[in-house]
């Protein structure tokens, strides 16, 4: 055994027993570490209104103790922390403590509460037993010690985890629910510089993963993004000032699609000079020339692109890189220190069937580009589109609008495998477009070099291919003809590599895309980066935007000679199983208003019309707030002490102590298990701890005793003792304090409203302490308390007024009676604090059959656990009231002090 004198003591549990033990030891000169798992010390006593038998205000007598404890120079309070490991032995324990992250700097927070005012996430308050609310950033109660706020983060909301760009989805949805549209838009813009566009065209993987979708229907996240973006546009854009140019370097970006625009946006805000070279006459890439007007009005896109230009990004249109004067070498010579290639994937894949060169074969990508550029386009009367992605659907719906009488889509797999979004497929069908599933063209038929039809063959699905989808296999002899005067192939795209010199050394994949470093998007040529569809192949706008951000970060590091920072690792996603759904009512998702179908023929007017403000706010309120803290960052904006740090990490501390005291206290037994009493189904049946919160001046009703069903103040109340206690079917033991606190609560009711009648249904009146019996007698004499010796068996409810009706037998007369009252208080059994089994296992101590700490020698060493050097006090030891918990706290302190100074291994079992 180590001879080094270790006179530090660890106290686990910051309730009254732990506080007392800590103060006693500290006054003796020992160093004390008090570890409390919730954000504040105080324990259950803080939740009480008053304490028996003196009827002192619980907080008034507790707070000075909490203060003394916290300020004592020999006590270190580690709040919001848990013990995770215990090694060693008496005199020499090595402890590992997990200090959970509050996301708030403890040295700066003043507990002022400005942050909580602006937090949009409200949830049930544990301190108020679910009867009141708190925010995601919170202090458990007003007198909390330490006087610090804490941010409750539960994990990553699945929406944010699913978003390729990592948008703080829960954050902006929460802000919308509070009507803070500008703040919501600003949060979106941190990751998405084109919100009105993305809100219209995004494939919204967030909605697929939304936990609300596993309950009833997912939140209409994309529509909400569109709403705040459109809302801002309708209010008229603010003046955008160019970003200050703080760096000498300039960067060339090839392509003005979403990847290029995002990278440009980020880099110009970092202070670089940025020029985008765009081959086409318009900016926006596929957003401008791929997506049709009725899905994305060009004026909306253009306003958003202009906003980026106003920051100082130069966009040169009609400037195809690769042409003389614009080659990559030219750009380098012109002084561009880094190049980001974001040319997209605009080259359409050939069908590779005979007849493809005939007139009337019009590739989808080209067709859409021509329409979007306003070029003259003649569509056929019978159009056959080949393909199943959004390009195919866009081309088909565009052809309809341009006047084609018959538009058919031919797709080689079945509807389930179609990559296009379900909404698009449905709308196409509604617009009269026929879809041939499981068919593919084998040749294009024509006359005089002009298309007259397409010969197709039917397919069946075989084994899955590399993409995971089942491979289509042609059925022999199943050929059929589709009449057409225009064939639109839309079966895939690849990047147009014309921007590269003929003898370039770039590594290109077999699919025609740039091969780049996963993290930095750097190509094999130093200083040249690539992103968007040019790397991903035909993908989505949001994925392209994500690569734009990544490229900007990488380019900045490259130019500044810095190392790329490590990837942010997100905490695990919150699953639906981890969410309390008890108060969630089934509510349907708001449906996007659309232009009536009849009006759409021949028109390129926008089909989706967007949510109104009312719809948006109501829809946003459906969010379950999976991650609790939504990441909206509103708190940061108002914290004058600059104490908030959302990136703060938890930490582990190592302590060396000589002895350990456990004072982890109690939890409440779930009395809904005693369904005869109707807790959970009859509103006016509450538990005693809920009653304490109602009568407490700091509680959800500011001390007004209001009953749940109608807020009425009851003047006739009833208490039922031993609910779950002294019951072989639940907890056989006596919870020790209920007889006295029921009497106390009856007295309090009378003090709040003189004349209140309380009936206490008891088994025995256990009034074991000093002056306790007198207290009970006074309640009977002066405070309207009637004691009936009986254990009720059933509670019905009066449907007219919501009054509970108690059935009981008057055991003095043997008569079964009914008793109607306005409020029933169940004196619930109390159990050792949840998690005590894990703690006991960490500490290496035994628990008894009820979960209380086992103390083998009940006569002479009643506080010693089964491991030398570890002692127990308070409710963790056994059911007892506050004075006795204090006594045991002092007792445990004395034992700990004794063994640490004398280092005598005292007997654990037997003795005396």
């Amino acid at each position: 055994m180590n001879d080094e004198k270790n006179d530090s003591i660890l106290v686990i549990g910051g309730g009254i027993a732990g506080i007392q033990a800590s103060i006693d030891l500290a006054n003796m000169g020992f160093q004390v570490y008090l570890v409390e798992r919730s954000p504040s010390i105080g324990g259950r006593m803080a939740q009480l209104d008053k304490t028996f038998p003196t009827n002192d205000c619980a907080m008034c007598i507790l707070a000075p103790k909490m203060n003394e404890c916290y300020r004592h120079q020999n006590i270190t309070v580690l709040s919001y922390s848990e013990v995770t490991d215990v090694e060693g032995e008496l005199g020499n324990f090595e402890i590992k403590v997990l200090k959970k992250s509050r996301y708030i700097d403890e040295t700066k927070c003043t507990g002022c509460g400005e942050c909580a005012q602006v937090c949009p996430v409200e949830l049930k308050s544990e301190f108020d037993q679910g009867m009141g609310t708190r925010k995601a950033i919170y202090k458990p109660f007003a007198q909390a010690i330490p006087n610090l706020y804490t941010i409750d983060k539960k994990g990553t909301p699945p929406c944010k985890a699913a978003c390729p760009a990592g948008v703080d989805v829960q954050g902006y949805v929460a802000l919308i629910s509070q009507g803070k549209f500008k703040e919501a838009l600003n949060l979106i813009k941190k990751k998405v510089p084109l919100p009105a566009t993305v809100g219209r065209v995004c494939t919204h993987p967030c909605e697929t993963e939304c936990n609300r979708g596993k309950t009833d229907e997912s939140i209409a996240i994309a529509a909400l993004k569109r709403f705040v973006a459109d809302n801002e546009l309708s209010l008229g854009s603010e003046e955008i000032t160019p970003a200050p140019k703080t760096k000498d370097e300039k960067i060339a970006i090839v392509g003005s699609g979403p990847a290029g625009l995002t990278a440009a946006h980020d880099l110009v805000l970092m202070g670089y000079g940025v020029t985008i070279f765009e081959a086409l006459p318009v900016a926006g890439g596929m957003m401008a020339v791929g997506i049709p007007e009725y899905r994305l009005p060009k004026n909306v896109l253009n306003i958003e692109i202009e906003a980026i230009q106003k920051l100082g990004v130069e966009i040169k249109l009609n400037s195809p890189v690769g042409q003389p004067g614009f080659t990559l070498d030219d750009l380098q010579q012109q002084g561009y220190k880094a190049i980001f290639i974001a040319v997209g994937a605009h080259t359409s894949r050939k069908l590779d069937v005979p007849g493809e060169e005939m007139k009337g074969v019009y590739h989808g990508v080209s067709f859409l580009r021509d329409v979007n550029l306003g070029n003259e386009v003649k569509v056929g009367q019978k159009v056959a589109v080949v393909g199943g992605g959004n390009v195919a659907i866009d081309a088909a719906r565009t052809a309809r609008r341009l006047g084609s009488k018959e538009v058919t889509i031919v797709y080689r797999r079945s509807r389930q495998e179609m990559p296009a979004s379900e909404e698009e497929i449905e709308e196409a069908e509604h617009e009269g477009i026929k879809i041939h599933y499981l068919a593919t063209p084998v040749r294009i038929i024509g006359k005089d070099g002009k298309v007259t039809g397409m010969e197709c063959i039917r397919m069946e699905l075989g084994e899955p291919d590399a993409s995971g989808r089942r491979r289509p296999i042609p059925i022999e002899g199943s050929e059929f003809i589709v009449d057409a005067d225009m064939v639109v192939p839309a079966i895939g795209q690849a990047p147009d590599l014309a921007c590269l010199p003929k003898d370039n050394k770039f590594q290109i994949s077999s699919g025609g895309t740039f091969e780049v470093n996963d993290r930095s998007l750097a190509t094999n040529i130093p200083g040249v980066f690539a992103g968007g569809d040019a790397v991903l192949g035909p993908a989505t706008v949001i994925e392209a935007i994500a690569t734009g951000h990544r490229a900007a970060t990488a380019i900045n590091c490259y130019l500044q000679g810095e190392i790329l920072p490590p990837e942010e690792e997100l905490p695990p996603s919150v699953r639906i199983e981890d969410i309390d759904l008890t108060d969630v009512l089934e509510t349907k998702r708001k449906v996007m208003p659309t232009t009536p179908r009849k009006q759409r023929a021949g028109s390129f007017e926008e089909v989706n019309l967007g949510f109104s403000e009312k719809m948006a706010v109501e829809e946003a309120k459906r969010c379950l707030n999976c991650g609790i803290c939504s990441g909206c960052r509103e708190c940061e904006k108002v914290c004058e002490a600059k104490a908030i740090n959302h990136e703060m990490k938890e930490e582990y501390l190592g302590l060396k102590v000589g002895a350990i005291i456990i004072g982890t206290g109690l939890d409440f037994y779930d009395v809904s298990k005693l369904d005869e009493y109707g807790y959970g189904s009859i509103p006016n049946v509450i538990t005693a701890i809920e009653y304490e919160r109602l009568t407490s001046a700091s509680g959800p009703t500011v001390g007004e005793l209001k009953r749940p069903s109608d807020g009425k103040t009851p003047t006739n109340i009833a208490f039922i003792q031993c609910v779950g206690s002294r019951d072989f079917k639940h907890k056989p033991y006596c919870s020790s304090v209920c007889c006295m606190y029921a009497t106390k609560e009856a007295i309090l009711a009378y003090e709040h409203h003189p004349g209140t009648e309380s009936t206490i249904f008891f088994m025995d009146m256990r009034a074991l302490g000093k002056r306790f019996q007198e207290y009970v007698a006074r309640a009977e004499r002066e405070y309207g308390a009637t004691y009936i010796r009986s254990r009720p068996g059933r509670i019905d409810v009066n449907p007219v007024n919501g009054n509970p009706i108690i059935w009981y037998e008057d055991t003095t007369t043997g008569e079964t009676k009914k008793f109607e009252t306005e409020l029933v208080i169940l004196c619930q059994a109390m159990i050792p604090s949840r998690g005590i089994e894990e703690l006991a296992s960490i500490l290496g101590i035994d628990l008894d059959i009820y979960g209380f700490v086992e103390t083998p020698d009940k006569l002479f060493y009643p506080l010693d656990t089964t491991r030398p050097g570890i002692f127990a006090c308070g409710y963790a030891h056994s059911p007892r009231d506050i004075p006795d918990s204090v006594v045991q706290g002092s007792g445990a302190a004395a034992r700990a002090a004794e063994v640490v100074t004398t280092k005598i291994l005292e007997p654990v079992a037997g003795g005396g």
Binding site: D675, E676, C722, R726, D727, F728, K729, H730, M763, S790, R791, P792, G793, R794, W807, Y808, E809, D810, T811, G814, E815, T816, K817
Partner: protein, 385 residues
């Protein structure tokens, strides 16, 4: 067996006199002066002879609602059973309903020399066999038919319905031609001597038949064989209620039922429910029939309200009020049919509806049927009965 033995065996000494039993007991709701707790108190005070002559000892429905919630885990129904045994030795037996007709019939049956003509209810079209692994225990339905003629239904319909179902699934069970009453009522009335005779005779006949499995349509017979016979006579067979059998077929192969568009509510009998813990098989069966909308009564499963009389003894005004409460609850569900799985529950409910007493009483009319009859009518390819 002494009073002390009974108290020890049923843990009555743990009683804390809390009165929870009385506040749950359905009889106490209508007879406030009835008190299970006082009965226990009297036993503990050694005042059993008062109890025997009191008659209240025989009012208990033995429904087990109290035992479900007793914080001291007192086995009250068995306590009552054993106390009645002692009372019976003292010459008491409670007030037999129907002038003791049913009890007399059972006692006659217990004579080993008596041969009965019990199978007349078996009309054409029902197949049984002399040798089978499965035996169908009919119960006393053939005797109930004449006694309860005024109720307007044939209790033997339950037996016929059960056979129809078994035949449908290819089972031709054995039937005991001289089957004796399971003895449930005798045991619960305290007449253990008669009970023992019946149990031994049934056990001998079953053993001789070579049956491996016995299927019951009456929860009281089932409970008696499962829980009470082992102390008196050896039965080496697997035991099953017919709803367990049907539910098993649904799980294994599925059953294609005809559509039956009805709202039904299901009454858990005390013996199948609280005594044996079988709440789900009947519900599974009902929910497997397309078109059936099962609506639960407020007091369902463990909380189910007893049908009001046990062992055809002490059937009185309070029994009637309990039945009315239950029927009103059934009507509140707006169901078309009240379904039971116990022939005796059906008898008691129908009795309440037929013998309404005052014309101005509450409307408690609701069609009652046994679950086997509902199921039998829903079997594909079968004609309706």
């Amino acid at each position: 067996m002494t009073l002390e033995d009974i108290i020890q065996e049923t843990k009555t000494f743990y009683c804390l006199e809390c009165g929870k039993c009385s506040s749950i007991c359905p009889i106490c709701r209508y007879d406030p002066n009835y008190s299970p707790r006082v009965i226990v108190e009297n036993a503990l005070l050694g005042l059993e002879s008062d109890l025997f002559h009191n008659g209240e000892l025989f009012s208990c429905l033995t429904c087990q609602a109290c035992q479900l919630k007793c914080p001291s885990d007192v086995n009250y129904p068995i306590f009552i059973q054993k106390m009645r045994l002692m009372a019976s030795n003292d010459g008491q037996q409670g007030e037999c309903a129907h002038s003791g007709a049913l009890q007399s019939l059972v006692r006659l049956m217990s004579n080993p020399d008596i041969t009965q003509r019990r199978l007349e209810w078996l009309s054409n079209g029902y197949r049984t066999s002399e040798q089978s692994d499965i035996l169908f225990f009919v119960g006393c339905t053939p005797y109930f038919d004449p006694v309860f003629e005024d109720l307007g239904f044939q209790v033997t319909d339950v037996s016929r319905g059960s056979l129809k179902i078994l035949n449908y699934f290819g089972i031709e069970p054995m039937l005991l031609p001289n089957e004796k009453c399971c003895g449930h009522d005798m045991l619960w009335m305290g007449d253990v001597k008669t009970f023992q005779k019946l149990a031994e005779q049934n056990a001998a006949m079953i053993k001789e038949s070579g049956a491996k499995k016995i299927i019951f349509s009456c929860p009281e017979c089932y409970r008696t064989f499962k829980e009470d016979y082992p102390n008196y006579a050896k039965i080496d067979c697997e035991l099953q209620h017919i709803t367990e059998f049907i539910s098993g077929v649904i799980e294994e192969n599925g059953i294609k039922f005809k559509e039956l568009k009805k709202k039904v509510t299901y009454h858990d009998s005390c013996r199948l429910g609280r005594h044996l813990g079988l709440y789900e098989p009947p519900r599974k069966v009902l929910q497997a029939i397309p078109g059936i909308d099962l609506i639960e009564m407020k007091q369902n499963r463990e909380k189910s309200l007893c049908c009001g009389t046990s062992a055809f003894t002490n059937c009185d005004l309070y029994s009637k009020q309990i039945r009315v409460e239950r029927l009103l609850e059934a009507k509140e569900t707006d169901a078309d049919i009240l379904v039971t799985a116990c022939p005796k529950c059906q008898i008691h409910f129908r009795c309440a509806m037929v013998n309404k007493g005052e014309e101005k009483g509450p409307d408690i009319e609701i069609p009652v049927t046994d679950i086997v009859n509902l199921v039998a009518n829903a079997l594909e390819g079968e004609n309706n009965e």
